[in-house]
Symmetry: C2
Subunit: 252 residues, 2 copies
């Protein structure tokens, strides 16, 4: 039995059993452990299997690693912000939840609300909310952005235009002293603008780390935001801006 014949069979066994062991394959093929190890290593390199001590398993189709790391970042602050935000949203109304790790946290906090219609362009939020039997979830169409599960582009804005929301919860990549909401992705900017124009009340959630970052594309002005929920005090300039534009600021 040559290597070229062994590999397909290893994959076949792995698919059937969910996993393979070095010992098991040694018995099965009657070759040395080292040979099996070589096979498994090569199969792992081409992504067919995932190598583990003692054998190999089917590659886990779970979520993006980089993203889950980012999600953990500043998690405590995000949850606090999310809790405050969720308290501002009553039962029996329509809500839009936008892309972002903080808005995801808001989704988790909304799980015990009743009679909500939630529209979202974030696949992760859809997954989170699908747990609750008392929330109707609508997903906008759009191009799937690999990095964070966001749906952007023309299809997304098209869908949003068909609704008028009681509340929209949006986020941003960065926040300037001039009271401008900024983002990295120009496609997302279009979506955010559309959301704002189709919502009665716009909530912005952003943890303090956003104050120190820069991003190239302008989404909107703070003047278009009705409530801003964050965890760190704003700069004096920004505070003044919120006062004059009538934006309420809540601290978590």
């Amino acid at each position: 039995m040559s290597q070229s014949l062994r590999k397909p069979e290893i994959i076949k066994i792995a698919r059937r059993e969910g996993r393979v062991t070095v010992d098991g394959l040694v018995d099965h093929f009657g070759v040395a452990p080292q040979t099996i190890r070589r096979d498994l290593t090569e199969l792992a390199e081409t992504g067919k299997l995932e190598r583990v001590h003692g054998g190999a398993v089917l590659p886990s189709t779970t979520t993006n690693i980089g993203y889950s790391e980012r999600r953990a970042l500043n998690q405590a602050a995000k949850v606090d912000i999310a809790r405050v935000c969720a308290k501002q949203i009553p039962n029996d109304c329509s809500v839009f939840l936008s892309i972002g790790t903080t808005t995801e946290a808001v989704a988790a906090e909304l799980l015990h609300h009743q009679g909500l219609l939630v529209v979202t362009n974030n696949v992760n939020i859809a997954m989170i909310l699908s747990q609750s039997p008392s929330i109707e979830v609508v997903v906008t169409g759009g191009n799937l952005r690999r990095s964070d599960g966001g749906l952007v582009g023309d299809l997304a804005t098209q869908t949003i235009r068909q609704f008028q929301f009681d509340y929209a919860v949006i986020s941003c990549s960065a926040l300037r002293d001039t009271g401008d909401l900024m983002d990295f992705d120009i496609q997302e900017v279009g979506v955010s603008k559309t959301i704002i124009s189709h919502s009665e009340e716009v909530f912005l959630v952003a943890d303090g780390s956003k104050f120190e970052r820069k991003a190239p594309a302008r989404i909107a002005s703070m003047a278009q935001v009705d409530m801003f929920i964050t965890d760190r005090p704003l700069s004096p300039a920004c505070t003044r801006f919120c006062e004059t534009s009538g934006t309420r600021v809540l601290y978590a």
Copy 2:
């Protein structure tokens, strides 16, 4: 982090039983309690399980259990069917993948294709395909169906109407001897019909268990299907029907 052969199986058991005990796993794997505890602790650290005294339970944020069970059902057959189906699809074309566990398996098999544009109304498929950097993924809008992550309703059909696909891969809940494709959910029927009318080539994937089931709503006739991929021989009546209507049948 280091993997272990046991961990995937522990998760599998946990999904089936809802919980796992240290003692039970010690018996199951024939290892020391310490080893099991380490496994459970590590699984808890990565959020796969939630640790409790004496064992572990599913985390509160886990997705629908009934669904993952159903996905495991007949898994080997589905994967075989999916592999045959994926071979029929070339690189650099547009594909629609519909709702269904078999179509999910097709998505997994398509991961190594190049230059695909895949449109889907299944959130799970979107997640699977987001791993591949060489596949552009578009999600249709729609009402999220909790049971299986499907997107249905008017928004979904609206999105589909804006495309013309090279290939569509659809599934069905049941298949009648008369050559009719049947489904449980009337909302999904509308989506499936729209898909068929916007695709050059329609592939139907269905494992043999569908032959024995009944479902109330009619999606389409086998005559509208260009290729049918399954794992068990069709009934004589159905075979004749496929011959007269020019539907090619492939066996995995």
